[in-house]
């Protein structure tokens, strides 16, 4: 069943249809939130809040829009709000190398795999660069979709992705060549 069909049923009160949308998009939302917030518990709160907000607003959803883009827009705004309220914690991660090494050192022996190392590297990026990189390379969105989600222009997003890649390249090369 397409997103449009599930949204139509959910608007009429079919909670099973909305549950299907949750199952379809939860992992994507969680990936974005975990990378943005760098904290699994906070990410879970934000993702759950996002889906419940979307459910309450579903009857006002413009069916001409793409549901996934609309949902991610709510999510990104929720993440930004959560990050704004957490600036003090964010300061702990201000030093790229300290953050990366700490992320590695805190894991038990044998638990360090490729995804953990890459996640730690991505989490060293500035929030807007991290957001752009995750939407582009993790969720594989088009720039037009990213623009709708973030509110930033396509050229600004391309610049953010470029800067994110430049910052990540030496870290990723070190991960993959070690």
């Amino acid at each position: 069943m397409t997103d449009e069909e599930l949204v139509g049923r959910a608007v009429e009160g079919d909670t099973d249809a909305y549950a299907a949308l949750v199952e379809r998009y939860y992992s994507s939302c969680a990936r974005i939130a975990r990378r943005m917030l760098r904290n699994d518990a906070d990410a879970q709160d934000v993702v759950q809040s996002t889906f419940l907000r979307a459910l309450r607003a579903l009857d006002r959803f413009d069916r001409r829009r793409v549901f996934r883009v609309w949902l991610f827009t709510i999510l990104v705004n929720q993440c930004r709000t959560a990050m704004t309220g957490r600036r003090r914690r964010e300061q702990r991660f201000s030093d790229d190398d300290v953050s990366l090494h700490a992320a590695i050192d805190e894991r038990p022996a044998g638990a360090i795999d490729e995804s953990h190392l890459v996640a730690a590297a991505v989490e060293t990026l500035e929030p807007l660069l991290r957001e752009a990189f995750v939407l582009k390379y993790v969720e594989e969105l088009e720039y037009a979709e990213m623009s709708a989600i973030t509110g930033a222009g396509v050229s600004a997003l391309k610049m953010r992705v470029k800067r994110a890649c430049e910052a990540l390249r030496p870290k990723l090369e070190a991960i993959y060549h070690d």
């Binding site: 079919d14 969680a30 889906f51 579903l58 594989e140 990540l168 990723l172």
Partner: protein
């Protein structure tokens, strides 16, 4: 490193981050339970005090396929059909003496009963029960209200008190609960 190599490097990093997370299944299950337990999908009384012609105008703008106007309990009910599915556009009727009939519509597929409580019925959960109107999800009732400000809420299964998320919240509380507010304007047609 060529541009192609760089692209492969970042694509590989993105793929690594798409690996399934061990907590996803449990978190999805928890959220689906919350969604299933949520009694309110949407409530539409916020539109109920629109003049009756607003519904027809909105339906016309939206290129509605069919339009039916009927009378139920003295209330004019405007229902537009879009794509074969009925969509309640607005419900309001002048009864005379300034009183108007307001249809409260509530979608709660899992509910066994739904009641309307407010300052107009003494907050009595047994006084104004809603009726299922589509045999499955939707509950509704038309209530005559005089012009002015009214505070109300819905009661699900006799126990769960729910404010209308699409209507303004009243600043005051009754029985420790937040409630919604509806303002019935003077009927200028009467």
């Amino acid at each position: 490193m060529t541009d192609h190599d760089s692209e492969l490097l970042f694509a590989r990093a993105g793929a690594a981050l798409r690996a399934p997370h061990p907590r996803d299944a449990a978190e999805i299950e928890a959220l689906v339970r919350r969604v299933g337990a949520a009694p309110v999908v949407h409530v539409m009384p916020a539109r109920a005090w629109l003049p009756w012609w607003v519904g027809i105008a909105a339906a016309g703008v939206a290129f509605v396929i069919g339009l039916g106007v009927g009378r139920t309990g003295g209330a004019r009910t405007t229902v537009a059909s879009t794509g074969g599915r009925p969509t309640l556009v607005s419900q309001v009727a002048s009864i005379g003496g300034g009183e108007q009939s307001i249809a409260f519509v509530f979608v709660a597929p899992a509910a066994r009963k739904v009641s309307l409580v407010g300052d107009f019925n003494g907050w009595d959960a047994s006084a104004t029960p809603l009726q299922r109107t589509d045999g499955r999800n939707t509950w509704s009732i038309a209530v005559r209200l005089p012009p002015g400000r009214h505070v109300y809420a819905f009661v699900i299964d006799g126990a769960t008190w729910v404010a209308d998320p699409q209507a303004p919240l009243a600043p005051e509380q009754w029985f420790g609960q937040r409630n919604s507010v509806i303002v019935i304007p003077e009927d200028r047609r009467s």
